[in-house]
């Protein structure tokens, strides 16, 4: 029995993944050319969109890693069925590390603290930046911390991947206890590193603003987008063997429940932040919302309330909806878009007082997304979709009885 064949079922990803990969390479390549040309013409516009997209795709990558570790701690068929999808998304980390480098060349464009202090008109801000750039937001600190974050994530991805590979071929070894030992501390490490990465990379776009719950809003957004992405991939694969034989409504139901939980937590965090800042009404805090509720941005905020929470919430209350992957996938795609809008709403008002959508907001997602998805497809088709030798895989490998 080869690793990829169990119960007469070929567990390798279907050929369609390769097809998608080829198309994504073309899409990403063509879009990249346009984007690179655009970047030379309008670098300012380009880098904003670039940062948003970097955070978005990084979120899917790291969120997948976190859900994977959560799965190792809790078990259950819901996680086994998407385990290798999450793993493939997580293994895109090298690409994201590479994509981070251009940001380093645009620091003064993006971050006020990276500019010469004399160029800052606001006296209070200048004074504040004099302190903060000496202690935390220094150029060296920023780079060192980024290296540290990627090192921690890289180490986690490396170990999780290595042990997972080991389960594909004999000699049989049960790695579940190793996974468990790593995942507990791993989740804590992830929570701390992504929090500080969120502060460094997006919160410091407005260096005088602070919110202690902000890193958690970024974190939950990552989990949500990663899960929605896994549902999307699961749906595409469900039309082909082996996923068509393995995917049961119960697993989809659990994924739907997770989506519901994540959007509720997202709404809970976001609403708490808004209510506390609104009630306090302090000048150093409320300005963040003033920017995001005026100049057309208020409509984006309202759209987030309605379409990132209210409508998906109502839909996800339905049990048949959660169990049907062909319907759930549409909401997953929708939430992926809304998560992007959320990041857009968080980042973009730092730069433009009025709501604007530029060419970069359309083309950068295609370019970065195309390349990222191609890499993801490559990862996905490189190993079987289910770790057949894992002791807990048998539950999933039972074919569906109709």
């Amino acid at each position: 029995m080869s690793a990829a064949r169990v119960n007469n079922l070929d567990l390798m990803a279907p050929p369609v993944v390769k097809v998608i990969q080829r198309r994504m390479v073309i899409l990403g390549g063509v879009a990249s050319v346009i984007v690179i040309v655009g970047a030379f013409i309008q670098p300012a516009v380009f880098f904003r969109a670039y940062l948003i997209n970097f955070m978005d795709w990084l979120g899917i990558c790291l969120g997948s890693m976190a859900i994977l570790m959560l799965r190792h701690l809790t078990k259950g068929g819901w996680g086994m069925i998407i385990r290798r999808i999450l793993g493939a998304a997580m293994r895109t980390l090298p690409l994201l590390a590479l994509l981070f480098i251009p940001i380093l060349f645009a620091l003064p464009r993006l971050y006020p603290w990276a500019r010469p202090l004399e160029s800052i008109a606001d006296n209070h801000l200048q004074e504040h930046l004099r302190d903060i750039t000496r202690s935390y937001l220094s150029l060296h600190g920023f780079i060192l911390r980024a290296v540290l974050y990627f090192a921690v994530w890289g180490a986690l991805v490396f170990l999780l991947t290595k042990w997972s590979y080991e389960q594909d071929r004999p000699p049989l070894r049960d790695n579940s206890s190793r996974f468990k030992v790593l995942s507990g501390p791993g989740i804590i490490l992830y929570a701390f590193t992504i929090s500080f990465a969120a502060i460094d990379w997006t919160m410091s776009l407005d260096p005088s603003w602070i919110s202690t719950i902000y890193p958690l809003i970024i974190l939950i957004g990552e989990l949500l987008s990663a899960l929605c992405f896994a549902v999307l991939v699961e749906r595409i694969l469900a039309d082909y063997k082996p996923m068509s034989e393995l995917l049961k409504p119960e697993y989809v139901h659990d994924h739907g429940k997770f989506m519901l939980t994540f959007i509720m937590v997202w709404a809970y965090f976001s609403f708490s932040q808004w209510l506390i800042i609104w009630a306090g009404n302090l000048p150093e805090e409320i300005t963040w919302y003033m920017k995001r509720l005026n100049g057309g941005w208020g409509f984006v905020g309202l759209a987030l309330v309605l379409f990132h929470f209210t409508v998906p919430f109502v839909l996800l209350l339905s049990r048949p909806f959660k169990r049907d992957v062909t319907r759930l996938v549409w909401l997953a795609v929708w939430l992926l878009i809304m998560h992007y809008v959320d990041l857009f709403w968080i980042v973009e008002p730092n730069f433009s007082a009025n709501f604007t959508v530029t060419w970069a907001d359309v083309s950068v997602p295609l370019a970065m997304g195309g390349l990222w998805l191609a890499y993801f497809c490559r990862n996905l088709s490189s190993i079987p979709l289910v770790p057949a030798y894992d002791v807990f895989a048998t539950e999933v490998l039972e074919p569906v009885h109709e």
């Binding site: 202690s135 206890s177 602070i210 958690l216 708490s272 209510l275 506390i276 306090g280």
Partner: protein, 452 residues
């Protein structure tokens, strides 16, 4: 940390429907009232008489007998309120959320955890009312049509508290009572005593155990669980708003809602363990409340404790990062001010010591777990003390700084509520089945009618 692939059972082998029912119901029906119970209840009752005395004197003299004064207007009363309401969170979490998550191990601890919740909420509810100064006007907190033109300020989280806590109390009571009905019927049927038969019979509301009864029961129970789930989050969220809505350093910080909820579950599970460990020992219930329950509860404590630690870390970091002089001062004042000793004690008892729960051996050792839970309860009390007192006693105006010293009446009220809580628990153990009999029966191999 290494775990065997098959976890310890939630119920030891060898039991049948009959023996489970016998074992649990006999504690209430046939077991004679032991001297230990009489002693425990007696002491707890005496201490709760101390509460009555302290409250009586408070009614006579007013809140001046407490240590509260400007600048520290929220002393023990609010500290204890938050502490008790936090403890009350474990019950609903165990009964509602774990039910919805299909965690069947909850079945043997949910009943007394719910009872604990009710008594803790009762203790919590006393404090804000006593703190009002004129407790007999507490009903003014509710929006009701009146001729005095008195209307609550709906933008104040203190008003939200009234609704959050009273809703929580009501739903917890309903949930607990509905869950009790089938067991009350069991007691009615098994009791030999005419008086007990009548009382349990009335409480069982005509339960006959027919299929239709069970179907309706299951629906009602699931609905109540669904209703109770958001309440687990909402109550402590609203309590955190009491602080966070203001602009005081140490109170006004956006992470407060999830951080308070995690802290509440943290202390709630600590209290569950502090009760479960002696109860299972004295009543010989080690077969029903197994090492698995201890281990799982300890894991929940570890996880929520880490979220609390994250909250501390983020708050301290942001205080430093913001460069705001008042936030930085608060951090300094916590570390070096007059209450610094308590802050360090808090860090040790809430952050450092609970980390030993990473060791599996300690997670299943009743002795150590009991001790660690006690430390956590002290730590969580200190946390509320630090939040309330340290932020208030030195605020923006240096001229209005002051110190807070609790009086003996503060202590007497606080200790009195612990006595009241324990007295209620003792009565509960004696009069009602502390473990859900019929839910335990579903855990038996006998209950697996169809093999799936």
């Amino acid at each position: 940390m290494d775990e065997p692939t098959t976890p310890a059972p939630v119920i030891e082998p060898g039991y049948t429907f009959g023996t489970v029912t016998d074992k649990i119901s006999s504690i209430v029906l046939t077991r004679p009232t032991s001297n230990g119970w009489l002693l425990g209840f007696g002491v707890a009752f005496l201490v709760s008489m101390g509460l009555l005395y302290a409250v009586g004197y408070l009614f006579l003299r007013g809140v001046g007998i407490w240590g509260v004064n400007i600048p520290v207007g929220w002393g023990f009363a609010i500290v204890n309120f938050v502490w008790w309401i936090g403890i009350g969170h474990a019950g609903t979490l165990i009964s509602a959320i774990l039910l919805l998550l299909r965690q069947s191990w909850r079945n043997s601890i949910n009943r007394f955890a719910e009872a604990m919740t009710l008594f803790a909420v009762a203790c919590a509810g006393m404090f804000p009312i006593l703190h009002l100064g004129r407790p007999w006007l507490a009903y003014w907190l509710f929006p009701y049509p009146n001729t005095m033109r008195v209307w609550p300020q709906f933008r104040s989280p203190l008003v939200w508290d009234v609704f959050a806590v009273s809703t929580y109390g009501t739903i917890s009571l309903l949930f607990w009572y509905v869950g009790l009905i089938p067991d009350l019927a069991t007691l009615r049927d098994r009791s030999e005593n005419r008086g007990a038969q009548i009382i349990y019979g009335m409480l069982a509301m005509g339960w006959r155990g027919s299929a239709r009864h069970w179907a309706r029961y299951e629906t009602a129970y699931l609905l109540l669980a669904g209703l109770a789930t958001p309440l687990v989050l909402s109550v402590h969220t609203v309590v955190s708003f009491d602080f966070a809505i203001s602009i005081l350093p140490g109170w006004h910080t956006t992470i407060f809602p999830p951080y308070f909820v995690a802290g509440a579950i943290y202390s709630g599970f600590a209290m569950v363990l502090m009760l479960a460990i002696p109860i299972r020992k004295f009543y010989g219930l080690e077969d029903f409340i197994t090492d698995r329950h201890l281990n799982n509860s300890a894991k929940v404590m570890l996880a929520t404790g880490l979220i609390v630690a994250y909250g501390y870390g983020m708050e301290a970091f942001m205080g430093w990062y913001s460069g705001n002089r008042y936030d930085s001062f608060l951090l300094w004042n916590r570390l070096h001010g007059p209450y610094a000793f308590f802050y360090y004690l808090l860090l040790i008892s809430n952050l450092a010591i609970p980390q030993v729960l990473w060791i599996r051996k300690l997670r299943t050792s009743p002795f150590w777990l009991f001790l660690i839970s006690g430390v956590i309860l002290v730590g969580m009390w200190l946390e509320r003390f630090i939040i309330v007192v340290v932020s208030l006693h030195r605020d923006f105006l240096t001229s209005s700084w002051g110190m807070y010293y609790p009086t003996r009446w503060d202590w007497m009220t606080y200790v009195g509520t612990i006595g009241f809580f324990l007295a209620c628990m003792f009565l509960f153990l004696r009069l009602l089945p502390m473990i859900s009999i019929f839910e335990m029966r579903t855990l038996l191999p006998e209950a697996e009618v169809k093999a799936e």
